[in-house]
Structures are given as structure tokens and as C-alpha cells.
Amino acid sequence: MPKTTRYRNRIELLQGTLDLLVLQTLQWGPQHGYGISQAIRTNSGDVLRVDTGSLYPALHRLERQEWVSSDWKVSDNNQSVKVYRLTAAGKKQLASERSRWEQLSEAIARALNPQGEGGEA
């Protein structure tokens, strides 16, 4: 019996955060476009569904900025797939994006729970 996937709200991701997620995914090894989108979905517990309309432009843009590089490989079923890989510059970029994201989320958390307000955190 086919599992019906329920329609979930697609959370719109800012361009910057999409880049971050893609770079992060690639840190665990080279991957093709479909694989990246599946990985993000899985790792976020099925919450974040990446719109392919955003993913592919993002991948090509990242490649142009030389944070990732790509190659054509032959997959197990003898088909060609384009596989993306993080570059050294990409690794640096990932680190800086992560720290920026962490700073941002910390700031937002603080803003939502100002000092002196008791109650649940």
C-alpha cells in the first residue's frame, strides 16, 4: 500500500540558509543534487523540504562562487550523475556561515526570552 505523503508546509528558506544547508550536507561527502535534497529532508526530520526551484540555482551559484566543484560520475546503475564536492574555500565559507548562523539564532533566542522574565525557557 503506497504511503501517502501528507502535504506539509514548505518553510521558505532564506537564500543564505539554503547555501548553509547545502554546504553542510556536502561536508559529509560528495553528493548529487537529488541526494542533497533527500539528505536535508531526512536530517531535518522531514521538516525542511527543499524546493528544487531553489536547489539547482543554489548549486550552480555555489559552483560559480567556487565553494563547491562538480564532476560527472557513473552511478551504480550505469547512469551518469553530476556529483558536487566541497572545496577548500567552501569549507572555510561553511565555517563562517555556521558561526554567523549560531550567533543569529542565539540573538533571536535572547530576544524572545528577555532577561528578568521568569517562567519556562
Binding site: 503506497p2 548529487h32 567556487e66 550523475v81
Partner: protein, 860 residues
């Protein structure tokens, strides 16, 4: 970054997305969906593949350029499909752009470009100003004083040029030889390219005669040899050693080929013997105002020191470029404005054509908008399409302009200053390109102005294919027609005024009869005046004996040429009774040959000769000016100023005035002396022969007659008719051009009116069919169509007349004998345009009356 070709990248992207979909389908199938379900679901989840591809491609950068190239290609395809529209549009635009480029080439070379000398803005031309405020050429002693005393001029030089026979090259030629003072080349800032200019010991009285030649002369007549000293030149009795060659293209004074020091030729010490042109270079940071003040002070000094011995009261300085360009500048600017009008008319025609195209393509635009194109994107596409059109038109226009520039220069060779510098070059090509682009953008945006969202949605409906999309489009079309007609009206009024001026000028009596006479201009270099006079006497006798010759005579300067001199004379040898007039040396038969009137007294006859008392004939205006209430016969004139002979001339006759300087200038007071009595000033001599027969057969006969006397002397033939006609060259030039533009604009406007009315008829075919079916007669249909068409035409004429009344003031300086608001011209233009408009409306209206109601009702 992989640098692959575009196509490879597109293919790879396709492959990448296919792979994605493949894997997505495989996963779904693994999860239990059927292949078909999986396929559909995967595609749905992916989204719009085309859109994704499009957006991804934009990440590659340079998308803007790629789209533009795509639009250009599309534009070319469109043009191939709509050949008729495209060719009409391209030709119309090419006409406008070509005319603009040609005129701008001329204006650029003559008015805008600085003279081709270093720091040319520092160059000035100096003139003496007499008591009447007229600017005249310098007398040498005055020039020398100005040179010595000025504090604001770095270098000053005088020059004078004339056609002379030059021997010593590979053959004798008659060419322009310039006598220049020592600093001439220093003023201009140009030095000989080969050899040198004059040394100080050469540029003085008694110095060794040397000459500098032009590049052209050096090539043509000296064989381009490096050993310049080996071929001395002979001018007159003197042998000049060539010491230098000017750079190629150096052309000052105009057409001069040989430059010799003026100091070698003794000049009159009189401060009233004019004829020297003076140029100077301002010193350092001196402004023109400072120089003018300085020069005026010197002028006043000279006046004080010399009193009545000098004509000048002031010295004027004007920028050399202005002095060279003269009056022509103003007419050129007017012509530039006129061609701008023509271009606008051409553009409005094309705009109308494009508007029709846009309406036909409404459906296409609606679909593109639905697919996500913004108005901005559509505008870019339009501009690209029109760019192909205008670039083609621009290219064709450039070709037209080459031909046009040649035609323009040919039309007025002598009248256009700096004509050797005129040509289509990089600047004008850049202008053409800019014009084309501007036209493309303007025409591209125009239809877009009226493309609103509502229209686009309407466009999606099938029926919209044939509709004219409403009143907005119709209004725009009428507006365009009105503009065209208004612009054409202004051009036609201008042309009409110029035509009328030309006619008025032709009505002026030149003072001599221009038909059936030939003028033969001879130039002798014999230093001895008596020998020259003798030669001319023999030549006159021979010509007189030719068959068919009714009368023959000679003069040293024909009217309407630049010959002859002028200067001051004394009445009855009284130093306090001064006069100023033109001085001519003439032979007895001259006045009959020219067909001039004798007013009083007698002409020269056989009794006058070298040994009889000197006699003079004066012109009517001179008699009126100096002896208004007495009989001038018997009075004396002392004209020693001109040739050193201070014998008193007795006035024996008064002849009719002749327009020495063209029809439009008033006649100057003239004194004619007998060529055998006072041959001093007769270097060049023009023998005029009036014939009963054909002037063409006379010319070889005259040439033969002179050749038997002297085989080498250069002679130049013109009919009196040609002399007369060439004095009108400037005016004819403006008229032909303006008239040409006006006619072109009229044609374009007529085509425009026809096109719009024809289109309107097509759009309203259904309506017309219904009206006819309901009983409308032919004349009702005619009235309807013509009425609608003529509305814009008449409004356009009205606006145009208003514009003409305002603008024709600007061409007043070109008019003669006619006011800028001449009512006859305005009426004539109105009638002409209205009739042309009526005809242009009538033809489609006639077609409308033939509409078959049954066909029309089925017509969609």
C-alpha cells in the same frame, strides 16, 4: 569553473535534472508506488522544469547578454517574415539617418572641428576698420606697425595669394602662389616637413629668392625628388630656389601651392593701399579681449600719427576659424536643423508602421506575459528587434551619406570653407551609430506605452487578433500623423521662403548682359606693364576678327569674380577731397562686350591712346556719391595710390553700375582706366567676346587666337552666364538642400497619411460594410473616411504654421526681399499640404466605397 560552451552546459543541465527525476522515481517505486504514479508525483514535486532550468541558467551570469542576443536573432527572423514592412521601415530610416550623417559631416568639418593647427584657438585674423565701420584688409605699413607695437601677440604675419604662372616644374602651371611675411609659418605652428622655411636673411628686401612648395606640387611637378635645390622655380622674372616642402594636407591660404617671402616684392608704402591679409597668434595666456584692447590702442595711435593718410580708425581681431567660415556657418546650422526635422518625420512614419505591427502581435505578447515576462522584458525585446532594424538602416544610411557628402561638396565647392576637410569619418560614424540606437530605443518604447495589462489579457482572446485595441491606439496614430504634417509644414514654409528669395535675387539687374558672351582669363607674368598691354592689344585684335564676334574688350577683374583692386583716390588732386572706389583697367570694347549702359558722355574710342591725356569712366554710383549735384564730366581723379601713376584722370563718361560683388551686395563706385594708358594694375586680364553665334564654337577659336601669340600662357574660359551663375552658388546650395529635405518630408508625410488611413479602413471594414448594407452611399463613406483622415492633417498644418511663424525668424539672414512671415508662402504651403493630404486620404477612401457588405460582415 568549467568553461564549457553554452550548448554543452544546457545539455548537462538537462542531464542533471533528468538524473534527479530518475532517482526520485526509483525511490518512490521502491516505496511501493506504481511507475506511472511515481513518474507523475516526481514531476509534480519537482515543479516547472522549464522554469527551474531558466532560473538556474541565470546563475551562470551574462544572462542579460544572452537574452539580448536571442532577441536580436528573433528580430532578424521577424524582419525576414515581414519583408515589406521591414524594407519600407529600413529605407525610410536610412533616408533620415543618411541625410543627418551627411549634413553633420559637413557641419562638423566646417564649424565644429578646430582648425588643424596646434592650439588653433589662439589664432586670430586682423582687419583694419574704417570710419564707416567696415572691415577691410591691411595696408603693409600699418601691418608693420601693428607687428612692431603689439604686446599681446606672439607672432604676426601678412599674406596675399593669387593665381600666377609658375615655370620650372615638369610643366608650366597656373597655380595659387602666396606671398607671406617672415613669421607666417610660426603663427600657424606648422613647419615644412622636408627642408626648411625662410631664413631671416632671405626674408628681406634684396634677399636670395627662395620658395616653399606644397606636398602636392612637390609630388606632381617636382617628382617628389629629395634634391630640392636642383629644380628652381620661375615666377615672373625671378628664379626661386626651393628650400622646403610643407606637410601633406597643409592648405593655408586655401589652394596655395607655393609660398614665397613677401619682402622680396616691393610693396606700396601707402597706408591706404589695402589687400594684405593678416593673421596672428595670441601670446601665452592672453585673452581675445585683452588682445582687442591692445590692438585698438595701436589703431588709435596710428590714426593720430598719420591723420588722413590712413583709412583705419580701429583694428579688429576675430578668431581665425570664424573669419574663414564666414557667413556659411549660419546657413549650415539652419540646414542641420532642417535635417533634424526630416529625421523626425522619417521616425514618425516608422513608428506608425511599428504600431501596426504591435497590434498584430498582441496575442503573442499576451502569451509571453502569461508565461512570466514582465513589461520590462518585453520592452527589451522590442528594443532589440528595433535595433536590428535601425542598425541595418544605419548601415544603409552611412552608405547614402558618403554619396551625400560628395554631392554636397560638389554643389558648392568654392563656397564651402575647409571643404578639403569634409568627409565621413569616425566621428560621424559614431554619430550614425548613436542615432540608430536612439531611434531604436525610442521606437521600441513607443508601442509599449500603450500596452497595459488589461490590453494584454484582452489579447489572449482569439478575436483580438483583428481588433485595433481601442481608441488609445487610434489616438496615438493620429498624433503621429499630426506631428509629421506639422514638421513637414515648417520645412515647406522654409523652402518656400528660400525659393521666393532666390527669385527676388534673380530679378536684380546685374548691370551687364549675361547671355552669349565668353570670358577668357589670361595671366601674364611679364614685369613690364607696356609689354603686357601690347600683348593684350594684339590678343583683342585677333579675337575681334573672329567670325561671329559682335564686340570684344577686356578688363583686369570681371564682376562677380574676386579680381580687381580698390583703394583711395583724390578728387582734382586735392588732398582734402578723398574718395574710395573700385579700380579697373579696361579696354575700349569692354563696355559693349559686357552689354553695360552708357549713361552720360562717351566711352573710350580710338582717339584715346598711350600718348593722349588720361581718361576715366566712372560708374553711376560713384557719380552720384561724389558729384551729386554737378556734372561729373570733365572732373579729375588722381588714383596714384593704385599703380604709382599720379597723372590726373579726366572723367569723360558715366557707365551703368555693375554688381561687382554679387547680386545681393550693392554696386560699388568704380573707376575704369584705359588699359593702354594705365596698364600697371593689369596682371590678369579677362577678354570678353560677345557673339551672335554659339559660345561653344567660339572658345576653341579664341584659344587658337591667343596661342598664336604665346603658346604657354595659361588661359581659362568661362561664359558670362557661368560667371553670373557661380555668384549664386551659396544661395543655390541652401535652396537645393532645404528644398530637397522639404520634398522628402512631403513624400514621407504623404505615405504616412496614406498608410494610416488605409489601415483605418481595413480595421473598420466590418463597420463600413454594415453602413453600406444599411444604405449608405459612396459619398457618405468617402466623407466619413476622408473626414476622419483630414482632421489630423488639418490640425497638423495649423500647428505647423504656428511653428513656422515662430521659427522662420531664425532664417531671416538667409532671406532676401521677402519677410519671414510672408502670407503668400504660408497660404501656398497650406494649400499644397491640404491637397496632398486629401489625395492620400482619397485613395483608401475609394477602396472603402467598394467594400462588399456581404464579405465585410463575414470578415473577422
Amino acid at each position: 569553473m568549467r568553461l564549457l560552451g553554452r550548448r554543452r552546459r544546457d545539455e548537462e543541465l538537462d542531464e542533471e535534472i533528468r538524473a534527479h527525476l530518475r532517482m526520485a522515481v526509483r525511490d518512490r517505486v521502491e516505496r511501493g508506488e506504481t511507475p506511472e504514479q511515481a513518474e507523475a508525483a516526481a514531476r509534480r514535486e519537482f515543479g516547472n522544469v522549464t522554469l527551474v532550468k531558466e532560473v538556474t541558467r541565470e546563475m551562470w551570469g551574462r544572462a542579460w547578454l544572452r537574452q539580448f542576443a536571442q532577441d536580436l536573432r528573433y528580430g532578424l527572423r521577424m524582419m525576414r517574415r515581414e519583408m515589406k514592412f521591414a524594407s519600407v521601415a529600413v529605407l525610410t530610416l536610412a533616408l533620415g539617418i543618411g541625410a543627418c550623417t551627411a549634413i553633420f559631416s559637413v557641419v562638423d568639418a566646417v564649424l565644429l572641428r578646430p582648425l588643424p593647427y596646434p592650439e588653433a584657438e589662439k589664432l586670430v585674423s586682423l582687419r583694419e576698420v574704417d570710419a564707416k565701420g567696415r572691415q577691410i584688409t591691411f595696408a603693409e605699413p600699418n601691418f608693420l606697425d601693428v607687428r612692431a607695437r603689439s604686446r599681446t601677440l606672439a607672432a604676426t604675419a601678412e599674406y596675399n595669394a593669387g593665381l600666377t604662372t609658375v615655370l620650372g616644374g615638369s610643366e608650366p602651371v597656373r597655380t595659387s602662389v602666396a606671398l607671406i611675411s617672415a613669421d607666417f609659418f610660426k603663427v600657424l605652428g606648422v613647419e615644412p616637413a622636408t627642408g626648411r622655411s625662410f631664413l631671416p636673411e632671405e626674408a628681406k628686401a634684396g634677399g636670395r629668392p627662395v620658395a616653399v612648395v606644397s606636398h602636392g606640387y612637390w609630388q606632381r611637378l617636382l617628382g617628389g625628388r629629395n634634391d630640392l635645390a636642383a629644380s628652381p622655380l620661375r615666377i615672373g622674372e625671378t628664379s626661386y630656389t626651393v628650400v622646403g616642402v610643407m606637410p601633406r594636407g597643409f592648405n593655408f591660404p586655401r589652394d596655395a601651392e607655393i609660398w614665397v617671402p613677401v619682402e622680396l616684392t616691393p610693396s606700396s608704402p601707402s597706408r591706404t593701399s589695402h589687400g594684405k591679409r593678416v593673421i596672428a597668434r595670441l601670446r601665452g595666456e592672453v585673452t581675445l579681449e585683452q588682445a582687442r584692447a591692445d590692438l585698438s590702442a595701436i589703431g588709435r595711435q596710428l590714426r593720430q600719427e598719420n591723420g588722413a593718410d590712413v583709412d583705419l580708425v580701429d583694428v579688429a581681431a576675430l578668431p581665425l576659424k570664424d573669419a574663414l567660415v564666414g557667413e556659411v556657418g549660419k546657413s549650415l546650422l539652419v540646414i542641420l536643423a532642417a535635417v533634424g526635422f526630416l529625421l523626425l518625420v522619417a521616425c514618425t512614419n516608422v513608428a506608425n508602421l511599428l504600431l501596426a505591427q504591435v497590434t498584430a502581435r498582441q496575442h503573442e505578447f499576451a502569451v509571453r506575459t502569461a508565461l512570466g515576462a514582465t513589461r520590462w522584458r518585453l520592452a527589451r525585446q522590442f528594443v532589440a528587434e528595433n535595433l536590428t532594424l535601425s542598425l541595418l538602416a544605419g548601415g544603409l544610411g552611412v552608405m547614402l551619406s558618403f554619396w551625400g557628402v560628395d554631392a554636397l561638396v560638389g554643389l558648392n565647392q568654392s563656397g564651402l570653407p575647409r571643404s578639403d576637410e569634409i568627409g565621413v569619418n569616425a566621428r560621424t560614424l559614431a554619430l550614425t551609430f548613436a542615432l540608430s540606437t536612439l531611434v531604436a530605443v525610442a521606437l521600441g518604447l513607443l508601442p509599449l506605452l500603450r500596452l497595459r495589462k488589461g490590453d494584454l489579457q484582452e489579447g489572449l482572446k482569439e478575436s483580438a487578433r483583428r481588433q485595433s485595441a481601442g481608441a488609445a491606439s487610434r489616438r496615438l496614430r493620429s498624433l503621429l500623423v499630426m506631428t509629421q504634417v506639422a514638421l513637414t509644414t515648417v520645412l515647406l514654409v522654409g523652402a518656400g521662403l528660400l525659393i521666393k528669395s532666390f527669385v527676388k535675387v534673380l530679378e536684380i539687374d546685374p548691370g551687364f548682359r549675361t547671355e552669349s558672351a565668353v570670358a577668357m582669363e589670361i595671366s601674364l607674368t611679364d614685369e613690364q606693364p607696356q609689354r603686357r598691354a601690347d600683348f593684350y592689344r594684339q590678343a583683342l585684335e585677333r579675337v575681334a576678327s573672329l567670325p561671329g564676334v559682335e564686340a570684344t574688350g577686356g578688363v583686369n577683374g570681371l564682376p562677380m569674380t574676386d579680381g580687381g583692386t580698390n583703394g583711395q583716390f583724390l578728387i582734382d588732386d586735392n588732398p582734402s577731397l578723398k574718395g574710395y572706389g573700385e579700380f579697373r583697367v579696361a579696354s575700349p570694347g569692354y563696355f559693349d562686350a559686357m552689354g553695360m549702359r552708357l549713361v552720360r558722355g562717351r566711352l573710350y574710342d580710338q582717339s584715346d591712346g598711350p600718348n593722349t591725356p588720361q581718361v576715366a569712366l566712372i560708374s553711376e554710383s560713384l557719380a552720384r556719391q561724389y558729384w551729386p549735384n554737378e556734372d561729373p564730366l570733365g572732373k579729375g581723379i588722381q588714383y596714384g595710390n593704385m599703380d604709382g601713376d599720379s597723372h590726373l584722370l579726366r572723367v569723360v563718361g558715366v557707365v551703368g553700375d555693375v554688381r561687382e560683388f554679387g547680386l545681393e551686395a550693392s554696386a560699388r563706385p568704380t573707376v575704369y582706366v584705359h588699359y593702354l594708358q594705365r596698364p600697371g594694375q593689369a596682371w590678369d586680364f579677362a577678354i570678353v567676346a560677345r557673339t551672335r553665334g554659339d559660345t561653344r564654337t567660339l572658345i576653341p577659336a579664341m584659344r587658337g587666337a591667343v596661342r598664336t601669340l604665346n603658346g604657354d600662357v595659361p588661359i581659362n574660359f568661362r561664359t558670362l552666364g557661368q560667371v553670373f551663375s557661380s555668384s549664386l552658388d551659396n544661395r543655390r546650395f541652401s535652396l537645393v538642400i532645404f528644398g530637397g529635405f522639404a520634398c522628402a518630408a512631403l513624400l514621407l508625410a504623404a505615405l504616412g497619411i496614406y498608410g494610416v488611413t488605409s489601415y483605418a479602413v481595413t480595421q473598420r471594414t466590418q463597420e463600413i460594410g454594415i453602413r453600406i448594407a444599411l444604405g449608405a452611399l459612396a459619398r457618405d463613406v468617402l466623407r466619413m473616411v476622408i473626414g476622419q483622415g483630414m482632421k489630423s492633417v488639418l490640425l497638423g498644418i495649423a500647428i505647423g504654421l504656428g511653428g513656422a511663424l515662430a521659427l522662420t525668424r531664425l532664417i531671416e539672414h538667409l532671406l532676401f526681399g521677402v519677410s519671414a512671415t510672408d502670407p503668400w508662402t504660408l497660404t501656398a504651403v497650406t494649400v499644397l499640404l491640404a491637397s496632398v493630404g486629401l489625395l492620400a486620404c482619397y485613395l483608401p477612401a475609394r477602396r472603402a466605397t467598394k467594400v462588399d457588405p456581404m464579405l465585410a460582415l463575414r470578415h473577422e
